[in-house]
């Protein structure tokens, strides 16, 4: 096997490590003189939940300051979307927040629908709610497993992934893909739910509440877990609001803001569910909120599945200028073939206008800004993602805590670097 020579002269090494002078103004003077210690955490670190680099300034074990360095996963998705028609941009949005691709699809699709003033039929909206809540559970399960591992509880991951596999199995049933499903598309969903989906999800809904109890039995009253989590990483409500935090990180501080309630979309206003709120804003409260969100998602899913059985009809818009005709029509209708050809080659024109639309992803508000050109490709697409905002608040949150608490704080705000860097 050919192995290249060890690279880099000392100058070269310095050039990409940077010199201490470049840090002047970012870290305190004490760090420059060597009184406090500068420590790199990441980009390769098991507990940074991806390729995040933190430059920590430590006094003993206490964190004096924390400088997040992002962009190690910058993929240029926003730029790539500018070169694609709206329908073809959906698969790229999957890969931003790779723990809940459905939410990204929904954020983008809902924004495109707003731009086109396109309505989604009721059945399509119900299927979307099912997908979004399943995605919330799947995402929280990864969070639960990895967060617990970070804090030393190794076995939780195995239980959490056991249930996650079942959810991914359902996504595969719907879309043919486990993770990057691209199932929610502008105008509705890709196809109707298959026949065996309803029995599968019903069985899952029967089983899952007991599993959530199991997770709680492992952690909620565990004294080690409490010691690691309670009173750590406290986010004051005004700090959370000032930094624009959303999702469980905000609600953990007791601020009642959930876009499913505040700006309902996809018919969320017709479902009966609660928004769990924390009191102290610490790691433990954020943990409890996500555990409660499992149960609230179950509530929504139960209602949505019941509606799926009664509400029939189209699952995506029947406006064939924007949504492909049914496969079965292609053999019979020339018009359908023309629409199909036009949609998959050129796409459709969207107005020269700008819109912003936000939804509640498992991590918080994921918003999509689209500036149309009047043609089939957008001029600019921007995603406002929760992870980016939560990372920007890390320096304030982490200040004064111990180095060992840093992993707990990172885990509890639940960042995904693909979501942050895009």
């Amino acid at each position: 096997m050919a192995v290249a020579e060890q690279p880099q002269s000392i100058e070269e090494q310095r050039r990409w490590e940077g010199s201490l002078d470049q840090l002047r103004g970012l870290v305190s003077e004490r760090a420059i003189t060597g009184e406090t210690m500068l420590l790199n955490m990441g980009p390769h670190h098991p507990s940074t939940h991806g390729v995040l680099r933190l430059l920590l300034e430590l006094d003993g074990e206490q964190i004096i300051s924390c400088l997040p360095d992002i962009g190690f996963l910058h993929t240029g998705i926003e730029k790539s979307v500018e070169d694609k028609s709206y329908e073809k941009a959906v698969p790229l949005t999957d890969r931003m927040d790779y723990l809940s691709p459905m939410s990204n699809n929904m954020a983008f699709s809902a924004a495109v629908e707003k731009l086109l003033e396109l309505d989604v039929p009721e059945r399509g909206q119900i299927i979307r709610v099912v997908c979004l809540e399943l995605a919330r559970c799947a995402s929280h399960l990864v969070w639960l497993g990895t967060h617990a591992i970070d804090m030393g509880a190794m076995s939780v991951l195995l239980y959490a992934f056991r249930e996650r596999e079942r959810i991914l199995g359902m996504f595969e049933m719907l879309s043919g893909q486990r993770m990057m499903s691209s199932y929610i598309r502008p105008g509705g969903v890709w196809r109707d739910v298959p026949d065996d989906f309803l029995p599968t999800i019903k069985q899952f809904l029967l089983d899952f509440p007991a599993k959530v109890d199991d997770y709680e039995a492992l952690l909620t009253k565990n004294p080690i877990w409490k010691d690691r989590a309670q009173g750590v990483g406290v986010i004051e409500p005004d700090v959370a609001l000032a930094y624009g935090m959303t999702g469980p990180a905000l609600r953990g501080s007791g601020v009642n803001w959930d876009l499913r309630k505040a700006q309902p979309y996809s018919g969320y206003e017709t479902y009966d569910f609660n928004v769990p709120l924390g009191e102290h804003g610490d790691v433990y409260d954020r943990y409890l909120i996500r555990i409660h969100e499992f149960r609230e998602s179950m509530k929504i899913l139960n209602q949505a599945v019941a509606r799926l059985e009664t509400v029939q009809g189209p699952y995506r818009s029947e406006n064939n200028k924007y949504c492909p005709p049914l496969r079965s029509e292609l053999g019979q209708s020339m018009e359908a073939v023309i629409h199909h050809f036009k949609l998959w080659t050129y796409g459709y024109d969207a107005p020269d206008d700008e819109i912003y639309n936000a939804i509640e992803s498992p991590r918080g508000e994921i918003g999509c800004y689209i500036h149309g050109t009047g043609a089939n490709k957008p001029r600019r697409v921007h995603f406002k993602t929760p992870s980016f905002i939560h990372i920007s608040a890390l320096p304030v949150v982490a200040k004064g805590y111990l180095l060992a608490d840093m992993v707990a704080i990172i885990g509890s705000v639940d960042i995904v670097l693909g979501d942050c860097d895009r």
Partner: protein
């Protein structure tokens, strides 16, 4: 069974040093605990309950490259991350192997743009490529078994 029929009642196995070493290497190939993007989540799935990589002696992920044998590049490699991955690879002790997991790591995948390195083989040598975006855990297992096959055929002299 295989071994006992060869053994007879002599209590002796004859083999070559090479075969014994390669057998040991495939039986306990410690991967580096390292993930880049979406594929890392499928890699975690492979590690977790349903797929269970420990069946192949891989349950022990080492967070430090000095103790790892296998680098699974799981996800898209950005230009900013490329020097880091190269450094991780350089820090691994020989013998070492690389699996390029997923389309992005293998060839850039859907991202042919300014930010993404078009394949991790531009910076480090790769032993096994796995297609898929992201590959299913079964595909990763198949890739790992393919690598085992390759390792079983390796000659010690190649590493010397």
């Amino acid at each position: 069974m295989g071994v006992s029929s060869k053994l007879g009642n002599l209590g002796v196995v004859t083999t070559t040093v090479e075969q014994a070493v390669n057998w040991a290497r495939t039986g306990a190939m410690w991967p580096l605990l390292f993930g880049l993007a979406c594929c890392a989540i499928e890699y975690m799935s492979s590690q977790a309950s349903s797929y269970d990589l420990s069946r192949f002696g891989m349950e022990l992920n080492r967070a430090t490259p000095r103790q790892a044998d296998l680098l699974i590049v799981s996800g898209r490699l950005t230009r900013k991350m490329a020097p880091v991955v190269r450094q991780l690879y350089d820090q691994m002790a020989e013998p070492k192997w690389v699996i390029s997991m997923g389309d992005c790591a293998s060839c850039g995948g859907v991202y042919n743009n300014y930010a993404i390195v078009q394949g991790v083989d531009e910076i480090i040598p790769v032993d096994v490529y796995i297609a898929g975006c992201p590959p299913r855990p079964e595909q990763l297992l198949h890739g790992i078994l393919t690598l085992h096959e390759k390792v079983r055929g390796e000659r010690i002299a190649d590493w010397a």
